[in-house]
């Protein structure tokens, strides 16, 4: 088990190097000049431009820029500075990630409890009224674009009923994040409910279920242990990748509720060609994906004892 985890962790190194290089190269080949963009519509004098480029190391060939960037990250944990206001990228990421993690945690808790809950109800009553209601509800959610849902929630709960503040304030408290978390987690909730439902409805007809019932086990144990444990594997897979997606930030949701998280930073960095910020962000996201997929693989073994890792 320990060796398996160690091997998986070692595998992350080439993946990490490959993705950072790809992103670095892609940002480099975007058209436009980020330094020139700082001067707005006004002309920039060539001497200042050249000096600024030199200071940021943008006048070096790409391989040398990549080399400097990577050595700084590995040796000094220095992700470089932003072109636009000279802020260290670690500081920018340190500001953006906590709030995104808060939002992602809330959204995740929301989709986990309600998604699985609705899925269980529908799965156990497959083909009946409750099942159909859940199916229609999830279909509705899946077909509404996220920004429409966001604006509807804002309109109804903030402006008409006045229950919530329309935007997240600069303090970014937990209670203000509930509405954005619902919008953000809504779509995944529908997927989780449907996955759970299908998986349970299918497993209800499995041989081991008939055996368990025939043995005279109490219904609670049949459903809670035998059925649930086997039905959760596809759901856990989905939830695992979803953590990465939630952490990657939600450009639209964050914009609607004025949350200054990862999504906004990614969007800004792309339009402004902020290479170092973008690579730093993506690097962290890649690590998040790698770690969650490892966790999911380990969870499989918990759910299904037949799966073992040497």
């Amino acid at each position: 088990m320990g060796r398996y985890v160690a091997r998986r962790l070692l595998q992350m190194i080439p993946v990490f190097l490959g993705t950072t290089f790809l992103i670095f190269f892609m940002v480099y080949s975007l058209p436009g000049d980020p330094v020139l963009g700082l001067f707005g519509d006004k002309g920039a004098d060539p001497a200042t431009l050249a000096a600024k480029r030199h200071e940021l190391g943008l006048d070096l060939p790409i391989w040398q820029q990549y080399w400097n960037y990577m050595t700084n990250i590995i040796l000094h944990f220095d992700f470089g500075t932003q072109i636009r206001n000279g802020r260290p990228v670690t500081e920018v990421l340190g500001d953006a990630f906590p709030i995104t993690m808060q939002l992602a945690a809330l959204a995740f808790a929301f989709e986990l409890t309600f998604g699985i809950g609705l899925g269980i109800i529908a799965g156990l009553k497959a083909g009946r009224l409750a099942d159909n209601a859940v199916l229609i509800f999830t279909l509705l959610i899946m077909s509404i674009p996220v920004f429409v849902l966001g604006f509807i929630i804002k309109m109804v709960f903030a402006f008409q009923l006045g229950w919530i503040e329309p935007n997240v304030s600069t303090e970014q408290n937990w209670d203000e994040l509930i509405a954005p978390a619902i919008v953000l987690g809504g779509l995944s909730l529908a997927y989780v409910a449907r996955l759970t439902r299908t998986s349970m409805a299918e497993n209800l007809r499995a041989d081991y279920m008939r055996t368990a019932v025939a043995k005279g086990l109490p219904r609670r144990r049949v459903i809670g242990v035998h059925l649930m444990r086997n039905s959760m594997i596809p759901v856990v897979t989905f939830l695992g990748t979803d953590i990465g997606a939630l952490m990657g930030g939600a450009v639209v949701t964050e914009g609607i509720f004025n949350i200054k998280g990862v999504g906004g930073v990614i969007y800004e960095s792309i339009t402004r060609r902020e290479g170092s910020t973008l690579v730093g962000l993506v690097t962290i996201l890649v690590i998040v994906y790698l770690v969650t997929s490892l966790l999911i693989d380990l969870l499989y073994a918990v759910l299904d004892p037949r799966i073992r890792y040497a």
């Binding site: 088990m1 700082l38 519509d41 002309g43 004098d45 001497a47 600069t170 770690v291 380990l298």
Partner: protein, 541 residues
Amino acid sequence: MRGATHAKWAALATAVALAATACGGGGDGGGGGADGVVSSSWGDPQNPLEPANTNEVQGGKVLSMIFRGLKQYDPKTGEAKDMLAEKIETTDSTNFTVTVKDGWTFSNGEQVTAKSFVDAWNYGAHLKNNQKNAYFFGYIDGYDQVHPEKGAPTAETMSGLKVTGPRTFTVKLTQKFSTFPDTLGYAAFSPLPQAFFTDHAAWLAKPVGNGPYTVDSYSRGSQMVLKKWDGYPGTDKAQNGGITLKVYTDNNTAYTDLVAGNLDLVDDVPASQLKNVSADLGDRYINTPAGIIQTLSFPFYDPAWNKPGQEKLRTGLSMAINRDQITETIFQKTRTPAKDWTSPVLGADGGYKEICGSACEYNPTEAKKLVAEGGGIPGGTMTISYNADTGSHKEWVDAVCNSINNALGNNKACVGNPIGTFADFRAQVSTQKMKGPFRAGWQMDYPLIQNFLQPLYFTNASSNDGKYSDPEFDKLVNQANAETDTTKAVGLFQQAEEVLKGDMGAIPLWYQNGSAGYSDRVENVTLNPFSVPVYDQIKVK
């Protein structure tokens, strides 16, 4: 049990992942009257908040609150009035003697002296400091040594600046520039305290200046809290207890916060909300002219666009644009059709005059005739280039093209050419890659007619992206700069503008207004000619 060990591993890793989440708390209450705090929308400044490094409105908002320079522009008329300057004297428009008023200090108690100015200007001009407004010091003698076009600087300070006493210094310019004192209200010319040079990082984290406000706290990318400075020696003391600038990534979001009562002032009403403004805000909406003009520039470096006689083509194109209709339907009157190459905020005395006249009036028949006489559009089709990522340029470019196509009776005469990002657009414009007309915007640095003409149309000037050049124009601008009498100087600039009109060196489109909305908690909200709210005059009810 095997499963339990696995669960432990997984649970441990999950716990580590979750432990990093943070929680915030607190809230701010605001009193009323003179102590009331005003909350205002803000955008993350593009550059560090150094005076000579700030060239956009968001950083400019802060500088307007924490700095006062030798001159200050009147928020209503735009006239340059003495602020820290006791007097600025000259006999030859080249050598100036500046006397700084007594009794001014920075908010940390340090005296504002002649040295505070000279050090700040030398810092702003020096190449190693990479200040974006360095070219403002380009008129001062010795600038070439500290900021050479190529190679390393050969001097540490500009030879044209000399401290002659605790409160006096002299400025020597490289050329005659009679209105130079009037440019000194620009933020780049602000004085700086010694702390700026000795502990630069700490200063940037919490800037210290000499204006009516002091920075109380600054969390980058999120908000800045400014408090009224009680010891402020000037006459324009803050009328409120402080300003809280809150960063909004989207101006629609800021607007909804204003309507919901969570924000007192929004100085950028989104175009999509303009139709709701009167219903949402009533008379708490301001729409006033600002010193911003939008034009269409031509690539004079392209031989196809630089043939003799093409001034008729350009004039024809100008007359094919229905400015009234576009400003009304697309901009909901937040733009005013342009009638010259400057801005109405200059006022008649400052040089604003409807010089463009009929050449800026919509006249499709005359337009068609002139375009034909001017040899027609090169290649039969022209593109108008713009950046598609900011400022909703697509709508008006399409409308302008539509207007030209209708006037010329040719559906293929003009098409828009969107360029993905602003950085890319500017890179192509400044490296002369344009194949047809392109959008250009100019926000004035100081309210002088000179600022609307020289940097944009003088041969090889810094922002002359289209490479327009006319010796007659250059000659008149030089004469105007040398003229000591302001009225005569303005007259000469207007003559230069007439030359520009004859060539139609750029098509004036419209003047941009500043727009703002405010809550019923505050009153006396105005915008200055730079479209920045006059924060110190805002009163809390």
